[in-house]
Amino acid sequence: MRRVIVGAVASLLCAAFASIAVRAQTSSAPPNQKPKYEITVMPPGGPAPRLPDGHPDFSGHWFPNGAGQGVSGRYGVDPAAIRQFDPKVTPEERPAFQQWALEKIKSMTPTELELSKSSVNCMPRGVPAIWLQNPYTTYILHKPGVMAQMYEVLNNWRLIHLDGRPLPKDPEPFFHGNSAARWDGDTLIVDSIGYDERTYIQPNGWFHSDQLHVTERYTRPSMNYLIVEITVNDPKVLQKPWKSAPRRWTLGNGEIYEFYCTNNKELEELEKLRQQELKGK
């Protein structure tokens, strides 16, 4: 029994560190070349533009990195331009799960975990995952009364009304939740409740309950930077609210592309693997 447990722990540790090695490998230059950074962190740019009502204008085509352009599968990218925040400067706490929630997450087989991901099953990522784990861009059109967010991934979109409307009493469950927004100086604070329970906070099995309350804080400290900070309050699943690091998105040019996810051949293969895992249980 002990051997089985030790083996399981060893496998888990190997998987954990292998995942780090894989990420490190994919973000580095080819082994026989010295790192030469052709793509670097964008400068902040000038002051943020403002709307006629004086608030910051968040409009722009935003990339989820520091480079203002695509970085996946490219050589010569400064690691600082790949990430959205520097954990040494703004460390991000780990979610403190309720014990039952942690057990539920741990009970998922690797393939079940994979099948739960939006990038695999093509379900909408939802809020806040769209800000926390999304390698694709977001196009924002911002007017004094409304902010339209167009997410490249899966061609999803969301309107955030800025007319002071309150949160609904009995919200219909939506993938992007039901939102109410207010300004605190130059920070736009968006509170959302009433979520479809099929979304995940992050693609690591972090599910949520019907009590999920998400707070997004948007700032544009300069022309080229959009900062999004997320707070997740979900007392059924978490022991305490979780707060993200301030995630930096950078202003880019170029097209936002069509991305209807309609033909995922991986599902058939993953289902075969899931059946194999279930037989092995």
Partner: protein, 135 residues
């Protein structure tokens, strides 16, 4: 008792690394479907491209040591990612019926003649990353 505590700490550490790590990784897990221990080089002729979301597939006639030709399918990054890293649809189309070298990994299910492409080179010799690199 002390051993149990060490064991608990090890499990917690492993889960913490996995949970923290997955939040930083892009897209989904290669390892769930593809076998990083079964990667190899392929050389063949590019025959066909299915440019679709979430993953394009391209098809290559690969000749084995005995000269037998088999058609392989290769999965790549999403079209959006490929466009942004300079390997767009037109690059593939311009190389139809031309030689291509690919480094890819086999499916975990043992699916016949199917692999995930990591890097490739067309006739221009440029090393292109078209999927997650595993080795």
């Amino acid at each position: 008792m002390a051993k149990r505590r060490v064991f608990t700490v090890m499990v917690a550490a492993a889960w913490a690394v996995l949970l923290a790590g997955s939040s930083a990784s892009a897209h989904h897990s290669f390892a769930a479907e593809w076998d990083a221990t079964k990667c190899r080089d392929f050389t063949g002729t590019l025959r066909k491209l299915d440019w679709q979301n979430p993953h394009p597939y391209f098809y290559v006639d690969v000749k084995d040591e005995k000269g037998k030709v088999e058609n392989w399918s290769f999965q790549a990054y999403s079209p959006v990612t490929l466009r942004r890293n300079g390997t767009d649809r037109q690059v593939f189309l311009d190389n139809i019926n031309k030689e291509v070298w690919i480094r890819g990994c086999l499916s975990k299910t043992g699916k016949t003649n199917a692999a995930a492409a990591g890097t490739l080179k067309f006739a221009d010799g440029v090393l292109r990353q078209v999927g997650q690199i595993q080795d």
